[in-house]
Amino acid sequence: MEDLSTNTLHHDPMLFYRKKRDSMKRPVQQKYNILGFISSGTYGRVYKAQSLDEDGKIHAIKKFKPDKEGDVITYTGISQSAIREMALNREINHENVVALKEVILEDKSIYMVFDYAEHDFLQVIHHHSQTLRFPITTPVLKSLIYQLINGVIYLHSCHILHRDLKPANILITSNGVVKIGDLGLARLIYEPLQPLFAGDKVVVTIWYRAPELLMGAKHYNKAIDCWAVGCVIAELASLRPIFKGEEAKLDSKKNVPFQKDQLLRIFEVLGTPDEKDWPGLVHMPEFANMKRLERSHYRLHEWCQSRIRSQQGYDLLQQLFLYDPDKRITAKEAIQHPWFLEDPLPTWNAFQSVPLHQIPPHRRIAHDDAPSMMAPQNTQMNGPGAPFAPGQPQTQNQGQSKPGSSTSFASGMSVGGAVYVPQQANNVGHNHSRKKARLN
């Protein structure tokens, strides 16, 4: 007996602790019925699931990829990104930010259970460009943006930088309420112990990345999120990314390269910046590189004429696209912009003005054919909580949501049906370039 205890103390001191803890746990599978697979990315995969509690609520479960050594799943330490996402989500609570219901740590995997959102900005954009073939109407556009900014104000008031705002990360519930999602790259900027750039060399997906980041700024602030909001507004209005640059890849030493193409795309619309617009420009590490680029003229006003169709709308966009981060409009100021005071006014149900048949289809989910620790138990789609709207074509998995095809919460999903096919081809490169480089 003495030997046994000494042995346990020496070789597996946490044996009893683990046994006790494990026995107290209710496994994920006993809490949720997995309805299907939504998307996947570098972090892992997202599933649609129904709570087995009485409420039977639908959730999105983000399962972080377990670490593997060969084929054996093992513990290697929780990623910084998962720690952030857990830590931040546990503290926040806002109508326009996706709510975390719980985190389940089980069998070497982390499951984050979020409230489910039926749509996202990228899907709405696709729906309009591929199916409806007309622009998002102003009432919807304005409502989506108003709520997005409202969510950003909250995050910023909590001193959280999102650092990855883009259409695929901004969700919408079936009630037309915007929910900002994916805080995997977000972080607290209140009293940081280290400068922000020390942690993550590259932040924000390239098309939404602010000029100060592209210019190699060592310090940045909330203004980078505001730039991304501008990009999202422009994309909603035109149904395509406004600055669709090619990302220069990191070299073998993981140095961050000069993002020439992305800057050129920006300059083409906003003109080449000068010291007058942005006094800090000359101190930017990439200033010399930038000087060598071909010069362009400002044509945002022209760009907006056919797309935003409102002088006030143009003015808001122009203020979000100011080169100097210190002059750029803040989220708090943006929500007070006169554009939101002129007709049509934003609504809390962004789809309020949309005829039923024009509402974007429900999120497609696929059956998970890849081996997974969380194999779907119920593949019956028409049970309670069936994910499809009545009358919506229910196509089988067409492969566009195969693992690894996208990086974000929802960009792997798509609208169903044949209309999607051209987009799908598009989507391959699309997803590729959307991939954000993570260095840690």
């Binding site: 001191p13 093992t74 513990y75 330490g77 959280i160 607290l188 009293e191 400068p195």
Partner: protein, 473 residues
């Protein structure tokens, strides 16, 4: 969230009452035999976290977060049923990530093996395999319920106080500036508190002392019992009565007679701070109760009169114009709570006085310290080891900061209060006011864990035998 404590997980889920604390330690208590041993273990573990944290180059705030994680974990678990060393390593590892200054898991394993392998801890079997630590992290985060954002008193301290003559800017620059980060940006909008208006001005070493008192507070369970801003205010209060230059700012406000009789009231003689009724006048007299013994002990063991020296050092008239007592009263917090917390801090120092790290017993200022060296344990000398080690490790204590103002370094021999150590020791039972070392506690801990594994609840005899042998250490 970062600014709103009242909406935080820290406030909503992790401030507990004493009954919860007692319940959490119930099993440990049966194996340890006395509450005092558990209190010493609280100091012991916090010191180890601090040591490992320093080896890992973690900032003070990260170490504080790791300590809070450790204490929260043991709200749900007992020392004897787990491996506290593995938990400590995991706490440091997670805290580093949660505070955005990550350390590689390999480094943590290496340094943990090094620190824990020291003779006084004698942990020779810390797993060299990363996966063991990673596994512990996993369970730890689960037990912490993923609440990884922790508030600390440092921020309140700097919101309420500033260094004298420093008109603008964050006071943190004179401390470890990086411990608080770079401060608020200009884009944070209007603020209604912490604007810098009306901050209490403290001399540099007084501010530093308050900072160190906050560091020290993590040796106790205060971080589980009270919101951080109250701990900060208690630290300011203690600084006002303990720090010579700060004393100067309140002395002229107090009737001089109170200083004489206050010594008898001996506020820290009770382990039940709740019994102290702190009306505002009591608060003031307490201030002197604490001051007097400190001052006298200082005067007896040191060569200078602190009040004089501080006045010489700090001729600032601005310090004299302010009224720190009114300042505290106007903070609109319960002064009786502040008093309770202050009592607990004093009790902690009293206990800590008897905690001695090996290898640092030799005084750096032996001449000043003749009264307190080489004793068997029941006098006040314990401070030499503990504070010396803190000074040496870079974790400076309030007493060290006093030392820095010309009072002798490292081994001032006066953080305790004459006559008190013995009282507490008797009350605690078993140890009878003896000096306790990490090596002793390491053995107690091992016994507790072995006994727990054997399933018997009765280790009283074993621990008692060890207690008998304390003198042999």
């Amino acid at each position: 969230m970062a600014t709103d404590f009242w909406a935080s997980s820290h406030y909503k889920r992790w401030i507990v009452d004493r009954a919860t604390l007692a319940q959490a330690r119930e099993e440990d208590l049966t194996y340890a035999g006395s509450q005092e041993i558990l209190d010493f273990l609280g100091i012991y573990f916090a010191n180890i976290i601090s040591k490992l944290g320093k080896k890992l180059n973690l900032r003070q705030r990260v170490i504080a977060t790791a300590t809070v994680f450790f204490r929260r974990f043991y709200l749900k678990n007992s020392y004897c049923e787990t491996d506290p060393f593995l938990v400590i390593a995991a706490c440091c590892y997670v805290a580093a990530k949660a505070e955005e200054s990550p350390v590689h898991i390999k480094t943590v394993v290496q340094e943990a093996r090094h620190v824990f392998g020291q003779d006084q801890y004698n942990v020779k079997n810390f797993p060299s395999d990363n996966t063991k630590l990673a596994e512990m992290e996993f369970y730890l985060v689960d037990d912490l319920e993923c609440d990884l954002t922790v508030f600390h008193p440092y921020r309140t301290l700097l919101a309420l106080c500033k260094k004298e003559t420093l008109q603008f800017g964050v006071g943190g620059d004179l401390l470890d500036a990086g411990d608080l980060g770079v401060g608020m940006g200009p884009d944070d909008g209007p603020r209604y508190w912490g604007t810098g208006e009306g901050r209490l001005e403290l001399s540099e070493n007084a501010l530093q002392m308050a900072w160190f008192i906050i560091n020290d507070s993590y040796r106790s369970n205060l971080c589980l019992l009270y919101p951080p801003h109250l701990i900060a205010i208690a630290a300011i209060y203690l600084t006002l009565v303990l720090n010579p230059s700060a004393q100067a700012t309140i002395n002229h406000l107090l009737p001089s007679s109170s200083a004489n009789n206050a010594a008898e009231s001996s506020p820290h003689s009770t382990e039940e701070p709740g019994t102290v009724v702190a009306s505002s006048s009591h608060f003031q007299s307490n201030a002197h109760a604490n001051t007097t013994p400190r001052r006298s002990s200082r005067q007896s063991s040191q060569t200078q009169t602190p009040t004089q020296s501080s006045q010489a050092q700090d001729p600032t008239s601005s310090l004299e114009k302010q009224d720190p007592i009114e300042f505290l009263a106007n903070l609109n917090v319960s002064l009786s709570l502040i008093s309770t917390i202050s009592q607990e801090l004093i009790s902690l120092y009293t206990l800590w006085d008897r905690y001695r790290e090996e290898g640092v017993v030799t005084s750096t200022t032996g001449a000043n310290n003749n009264a307190s060296t080489s004793d068997g344990g029941s006098t006040l000398s314990g401070s030499s080891g503990s504070h010396g080690s803190r000074g040496g490790g870079g974790n400076r204590s309030p007493m060290d900061s006093l030392a820095g103002s010309g009072q002798g370094a490292g081994n001032e021999g006066s953080p305790g209060f004459p006559g008190v150590g013995g009282v507490v020791g008797l009350a605690g039972g078993g140890l009878e006011g003896k000096i306790v070392t990490p090596a002793f506690l390491s053995r107690v801990l091992l016994r507790m864990r072995e006994a727990r594994l054997l399933g018997g609840g009765n280790t009283g005899p074993a621990v008692n035998r060890m207690v008998e042998n304390v003198k042999g250490i």
